[in-house]
C-alpha cells in the first residue's frame, strides 16, 4: 500500500473510531431527548465525569478494565440522582426550566472535577493487552483504536437487541413516540425515564473511559465532544438511533479529514450543516418528531 492510500485508510480509521465514540455519547443524548423531551446539556459533562472516575479507579490501584466496568456505572448512578432529585420535580413546569437546570448541572460538574481532580491533565496509558500495533492490509494501526471501534459496535448491537427484541425496549420505543399515551396504558413512566437516563449516562460514561487513553483526561475534554454530540443528534433527528449512528460516523469522518485538509473550515462546516438541517428540516434527517 503506498503512502497516500495508507494516509487515507488511516484517516478513515481515525474518523470511524471518533465517530463510534461520538455515537455512544449521542445515542444517550438522543434517547433521553426522544423519551423525555429534555435536551440534556449536561450530557457531555457525564462523559467527562466518567473519564475522571476512570482516573481515580486507576489511581486506587485498579486497572483499565476495572475502570471501564466501574466508572460508567458510578456515572450512571449520579445521572439517576440528577434525574430523580432535580429533573423529575420540574418536568411538569415546561422545557425551559429543564434546559436551564441541565445548564446548572453542567456548570457544577465542570467545576467540581477541577475541585476534586485539579486542573492538570491526567494521562491514562493504554492497557498492555491493547498496546501494540496491528497490521491491516499492510497499514500499521494502533490496536487500541480498533478495540474502541469494536467495543462501540458491540454496544450498538446490544442496544439494538435490547430496543427491538425486549419488552422494555418496546416500551421505550413507544415512549419515544408518545410518552403520555404509554403512561395512560398503565406503565410506570417515571421509572422508565429514570432507566433511560441511567442508560444514557452509562453510554456517555463508556465513551468517556474509552476515549481517555486517546485524549488524556482534562477539564476541557467535554467541550468538543459535547458540541459534536449535540450536532450529531440535531442532524440525525431527535430520538432516532439510526440517525445518530449515521450522522455520528459522518461527523467523525468529517472531523478527521477536516483536520487534515480544511483545518479552518471543517468546524465551521459542521455548524453550517446543522443550521441548514434545523432550518429546512427541523426534525433532522432521520427524525420523526420535532
Amino acid at each position: 500500500m503506498d503512502a497516500t492510500t495508507a494516509m487515507y485508510v488511516g484517516q478513515i480509521m481515525h474518523g470511524l473510531a471518533y465517530g463510534m465514540l461520538l455515537f455512544l455519547v449521542a445515542s444517550g443524548l438522543t434517547l433521553i431527548f426522544g423519551m423525555m423531551g429534555i435536551l440534556n446539556l449536561a450530557h457531555a459533562s457525564f462523559f467527562m465525569l466518567s473519564a475522571y472516575f476512570c482516573v481515580s479507579v486507576i489511581h486506587m490501584g485498579g486497572n483499565f478494565w476495572l475502570a471501564l466496568l466501574a466508572a460508567p456505572i458510578i456515572t450512571a448512578v449520579i445521572g439517576v440522582m440528577v434525574e430523580r432529585f432535580l429533573l423529575r420535580g420540574i418536568h411538569a413546569s415546561g422545557h425551559i426550566g429543564e434546559l436551564i437546570l441541565t445548564v446548572g448541572v453542567m456548570m457544577v460538574i465542570m467545576e467540581a472535577v477541577q475541585v476534586f481532580w485539579g486542573t492538570d491533565s491526567h494521562m491514562i496509558s493504554v492497557p498492555s493487552a491493547l498496546a501494540g500495533m496491528v497490521n491491516i492490509f499492510g497499514l500499521q494501526y494502533p490496536l487500541y483504536r480498533l478495540f474502541v471501534i469494536f467495543l462501540a459496535l458491540a454496544i450498538l448491537g446490544l442496544l439494538v437487541l435490547f430496543l427491538f427484541k425486549t419488552k422494555m425496549g418496546m416500551i421505550i420505543r413507544a415512549g419515544v413516540s408518545d410518552a403520555e399515551m404509554v403512561e395512560a396504558l398503565g406503565i410506570n413512566m417515571p421509572l422508565v425515564f429514570m432507566m433511560v437516563f441511567a442508560a444514557g449516562t452509562w453510554l456517555a460514561g463508556v465513551a468517556g473511559v474509552a476515549i481517555s487513553p486517546l485524549l488524556s483526561v482534562f477539564p476541557g475534554m467535554a467541550d468538543q465532544m459535547g458540541m459534536d454530540a449535540f450536532v450529531v443528534v440535531v442532524v440525525g433527528g431527535f430520538g432516532s438511533l439510526l440517525g445518530a449512528f449515521v450522522s455520528a460516523l459522518f461527523f467523525g469522518l468529517l472531523n478527521s479529514f477536516g483536520i487534515q485538509f480544511l483545518p479552518r473550515i471543517a468546524p465551521v462546516l459542521m455548524f453550517v450543516f446543522m443550521v441548514l438541517v434545523l432550518s429546512f428540516k427541523p426534525k433532522g434527517l432521520f427524525g420523526e418528531r420535532e
Binding site: 420540574i90 425551559i96 434546559l99 437546570l101 446548572g104 456548570m107 467545576e111 468546524p267 434545523l278
Partner: protein, 325 residues
C-alpha cells in the same frame, strides 16, 4: 397623585445616587458598577425574549459579541471615528445579524428555538475563532483607540478616564434599559406576553406571530449589541471567549433566573446579586461558576420565579390590602 410624586422622588434619588457613586465609592467599585450595568442591559435584553416572549436563547452572546467586535473593529480601522458612531455601528452590526438569522428562527419555539440559537451562537464563535486575521482569534483584539466624546460647544471629554467613562456608559446603558421598558409597554409588548402565554390564540386573533417574534428578536439583539459595544469600549479588549463563548450566553440567563423571569427588574437585580457574589467569592476562590451553577439549580428547583417571585409572594401575603375579607 401621590404615586406619581413617589415615583418622581425615587427617580431623582436614583439619579442622584448614580451621579454620586464614583465620588463616594472609588475607581475600583466604579468599574465593577460599569461591569454590572453592562450585564444588566444584556440580561434585560435577553429577558425580552425569555420572560416576555417565552423564547429561551442560548446564543444571545452572538449579538453581544457582534456589538463588541463591530465597535472594536471600526475603531481600529476607521480613523477619527466618533465614539457615538462606533457605538451605533456596534448596535447596527447586531441588528443586521438578527435580521439575517431571524427568518430561520421565528417559526420555531420551545426546545427547537433554543437549539438553533445555540447552533448560531457556536457558529459565530467558531467563525471568529478561526478567522484570526480579522478578529485576532483566541488572543482577541485589543489596544484600539477609544476616542474622546465630542459634545458641541465644549471640548472633547476624555473617555479613558474611568469616571468620565462611567457617566457615559451609565447614560447609554440606563437609556437603553428605559427604552426597553418603554418597548414592553407598547401594544407590541402586550402581544409578546400573549405569545408567551398562548401563541395559537394570538394567531387566531389575527396577529402574525412570526413577525412579532422577529421584531422582538431584532430589538433584543440590538440592545444586546449595545451592551457589547459598551463592553468593548470599557475593556478596550475583545476576545472570542470573553464576548462570544458559551458562558457569555449562559450568564444573562443565570442572572435572569436568579432575579426573576416574570418581571422587568428581575434581570437587573439578578445581575447585581451575581456581581456582588462574584466580587465576594473572588477573595476566596476561583471557582465562581461552581457557585453560579449551584445557585441556578437551587433557584430553578425551589424558586422558579426568582427573587422577584419570592418578593411577590411575600408582598401578596403580608402587605397587600385585602379588599375582600
Amino acid at each position: 397623585m401621590t404615586k406619581i410624586w413617589i415615583k418622581t422622588l425615587a427617580a431623582i434619588i436614583l439619579i442622584g445616587l448614580l451621579i454620586a457613586f464614583p465620588k463616594v465609592m472609588g475607581v475600583l467599585n466604579t468599574n465593577i458598577f460599569i461591569g454590572f450595568a453592562i450585564m444588566a442591559l444584556f440580561a434585560v435584553s435577553l429577558n425580552l425574549m425569555l420572560g416576555y416572549t417565552g423564547l429561551l436563547s442560548f446564543g444571545h452572546a452572538m449579538f453581544f459579541g457582534l456589538g463588541a467586535y463591530t465597535t472594536a473593529l471600526s475603531l481600529k480601522h476607521i480613523d477619527n471615528l466618533p465614539i457615538s458612531m462606533a457605538l451605533l455601528l456596534g448596535v447596527l452590526g447586531a441588528v443586521v445579524c438578527a435580521v439575517i438569522v431571524s427568518p430561520l428562527l421565528v417559526r420555531l419555539s420551545g426546545t427547537a428555538f433554543s437549539m438553533l440559537t445555540l447552533a448560531f451562537g457556536q457558529l459565530m464563535y467558531i467563525v471568529c475563532l478561526k478567522f484570526r486575521e480579522v478578529t485576532g482569534g483566541a488572543d482577541g483584539l485589543g489596544g484600539f483607540p477609544v476616542p474622546d466624546l465630542k459634545i458641541p460647544f465644549t471640548g472633547g471629554i476624555d473617555m479613558t478616564d474611568p469616571v468620565n467613562f462611567y457617566y457615559f456608559a451609565i447614560t447609554v446603558l440606563g437609556g437603553c434599559i428605559l427604552l426597553i421598558w418603554r418597548f414592553t409597554k407598547t401594544p407590541i409588548g402586550s402581544v409578546m406576553i400573549s405569545i408567551r402565554d398562548n401563541d395559537n390564540r394570538v394567531d387566531y386573533l389575527g396577529f402574525h406571530v412570526p413577525s412579532v417574534k422577529s421584531l422582538v428578536f431584532i430589538v433584543s439583539g440590538g440592545f444586546a449589541g449595545a451592551a457589547g459595544a459598551i463592553y468593548a469600549l470599557f475593556q478596550n479588549m475583545v476576545s472570542t471567549d470573553g464576548v462570544l463563548g458559551l458562558f457569555t450566553s449562559f450568564n444573562p440567563i443565570i442572572m435572569t433566573i436568579i432575579g426573576g423571569v416574570s418581571s422587568f427588574t428581575g434581570p437587573i437585580i439578578g445581575a447585581g446579586l451575581l456581581t456582588i457574589l462574584e466580587e465576594f467569592l473572588l477573595r476566596y476562590t476561583d471557582r465562581i461558576a461552581l457557585f453560579n451553577g449551584l445557585v441556578l439549580i437551587l433557584m430553578i428547583k425551589f424558586a422558579p420565579g426568582g427573587i422577584m417571585g419570592i418578593w411577590d409572594g411575600v408582598y401578596r401575603k403580608w402587605f397587600k390590602r385585602r379588599t375582600l375579607s
